[in-house]
């Protein structure tokens, strides 16, 4: 059984509770043991790196150091924003001068020995697709899905080192494996407006609106994302977007772990569909019930 340090990220405690719980559930079901990083703290997210790179690095490095204390060399997080900060910190700390500056802010210095990966990458690279296929009890046959990866999970490729920076396929492949019809969504890596929802809602309305429009264009019943911020902008703010753009989008936005959990037959309570703002029942209803054989 693969054992790996787990960094849930702050939003997993609040706005994306369902992402955290479904991630834990699917990992367990697929034989990936997540060990929480003890007493983890915030990575600093976008605000930190917009203020200062050393501060941002130190906030992330504290957590990398916590992983080192666990005696592990790999940490996984569901959140691409956390992932970017952890990986960027590690990338910048390859410069010894920078590393010294960053460590000067910390109680416990970070040796920079930990590799951070997204949960998606861990699942894509460490779990045999045949195993997933064999565990599917409710195939997603009948639902049309647009996979939206967000802007920073694969970019810049020199830092993120996973999948493709213009046309990532990890979620597409996973969803197809589960039996869903994956529609060719052209704006997989376009920005949704990121953390500007609060200070500049208009920006998010425009950018996320464009994504919803493109999703509707390709006939998607639902979006699948791997990012709490993307999910929040597309789902929670969908009504705001409709008001702002005089639109009437009603496209549910799932975390990929929710649909993966659904297909694996995991208890609905752990998947948190009820936490989604746009009612997912119509979309879920498109999934054909498996034949009553066996």
């Amino acid at each position: 059984m693969l054992k790996i340090a787990y960094y849930p990220g702050c939003s997993g405690q609040g706005t994306s509770l369902e992402y955290d719980s479904s991630t834990r559930a699917v990992c367990k079901a697929l034989g990936v043991e997540l060990v929480d990083v003890p007493d983890w703290s915030c990575c600093g997210s976008t605000p930190a790196h917009t203020v200062n790179h050393v501060l941002s690095s130190a906030l992330s490095a504290r957590n990398l150091a916590q992983v080192e204390v666990m005696g592990m060399d790999k940490v996984t997080t569901p959140c691409p924003s956390c992932l970017t900060n952890l990986r960027t910190a590690a990338h910048k700390m390859e410069d010894p001068e920078f590393k010294a500056k960053s460590n000067a802010l910390l109680d416990v210095p970070c040796n920079n020995t930990v590799d951070a990966q997204s949960v998606l990458q861990v699942l894509a690279e460490n779990v045999d697709p045949e195993l997933i296929k064999s565990k599917v009890v409710k195939p997603l046959t009948g639902i049309k899905i647009a996979c939206y990866y967000g802007c920073i999970m694969n970019r810049p490729p020199e830092v993120m080192k996973f999948d493709h920076h213009e046309n990532p396929m990890a979620m597409d492949n996973l969803m197809a494996l589960l039996g869903a019809e994956v529609v060719p969504f052209p704006l997989k890596v376009e920005c949704c407006g990121a953390s500007y929802g609060i200070p500049r809602g208009d920006i998010v309305h425009k950018l996320s609106g464009k994504l919803l429009d493109a999703g509707r264009d390709v006939g998607a019943d639902a979006f699948v994302t791997a990012c709490p911020l993307c999910q929040m902008n597309l789902d929670l703010r969908q009504r705001q977007i409709n008001d702002a753009l005089r639109e009437n989008f009603r496209i549910p936005v799932f975390y990929y772990t929710q649909l993966l959990g659904y297909a694996l037959g995991i208890d609905r309570a752990e998947l948190g569909f009820e936490k989604l703002c746009v009612d997912p029942r119509l979309a879920l209803g498109r999934i054909k019930q498996p034949a009553q054989a066996m």
Binding site: C10, T15, C42, A104, C151, I152, R200
Partner: protein, 236 residues
């Protein structure tokens, strides 16, 4: 399409089937005003503001050198192809496009850069960095300009700065971001007390915002990061 006059309009050739003489669409030109709830959808610079004349001879060489040193990028390698601007999703909200910011840095126009709105609105989505033919980390240059702008005491896009400040204050206090507290703090500091109140019922009903922060044992450690940063790390 039902965006009215919004920027999603693709010209007559798409809508009517006929061919317009010119179906190219200028994202931020004055003719295509953005009529959503957006407050500053049309670039400020273009709202009848007179042009600014730059004196190239007085280019601030120190500024160019500082941006290059802090970003580890050679801005002279930029040949102004505009690929960053072409990919940037935020262009519609900017006062200077990304490639123009790069140009202003190249020509040492410190004031214009540090006072610009664009550097505050960059979402660090890495589109520019990923596609730059000269392999310049453009998003990093934007980031560094924002740092310098902040240090110089500017905050042209004040709400963005206030949000970042509120977020970091929350992290400093609790060790983790406490979303509800962050919202309250942001509303107080920015004076925009009605921000996203429309979302409150949805969020609270679904239990998405816990009423209490999750304090962690190491929060003093985190607080000390900020403390040390303020003491000496400013120019780090």
């Amino acid at each position: 399409m039902s965006y009215g006059e919004s920027l999603y309009q693709f010209g007559a050739s798409v809508r009517g089937g006929g061919v317009s003489k010119r179906s190219i669409r200028y994202i931020a030109s004055p003719g295509t005003s953005f009529q959503s709830t957006g407050r500053f959808a049309v670039p400020y610079r273009k709202l009848g503001m007179p042009m600014q004349i730059f004196d190239l001879a007085t280019a601030d060489q120190g500024f160019i050198a500082e941006v290059e040193a802090r970003s580890h990028q050679n801005v002279k390698t930029c040949y102004q192809c505009g690929n960053c601007t072409a990919g940037c999703p935020y262009t519609f909200a900017y006062d200077y496009s990304v490639s123009q910011i790069m140009r202003l840095v190249q020509t040492g126009q410190k004031d214009a850069v540090l006072k610009s709105r664009s550097i505050w609105l960059c979402g660090s989505c890495q589109s520019c960095t990923t596609r730059c033919p000269n392999k310049i980390d453009v998003a990093l240059v934007m980031d560094v300009c924002r740092h310098m702008s902040r240090e110089a005491g500017y905050a042209t896009e004040r709400s963005v700065k206030v949000f970042a400040d509120s977020f970091l204050a929350s992290v400093e206090r609790h060790g983790r971001a406490y979303e509800l507290g962050l919202m309250a703090s942001y509303m107080t500091r920015s004076g925009r007390v009605f921000t996203d109140v429309d979302l409150a019922p949805q969020v609270l009903m679904r239990g998405k915002l816990p009423f209490k922060p999750h304090p962690i044992q190491g929060r003093e450690q985190v607080a000390r990061i900020f403390e040390r940063f303020r003491k000496g790390g400013k120019n780090a």
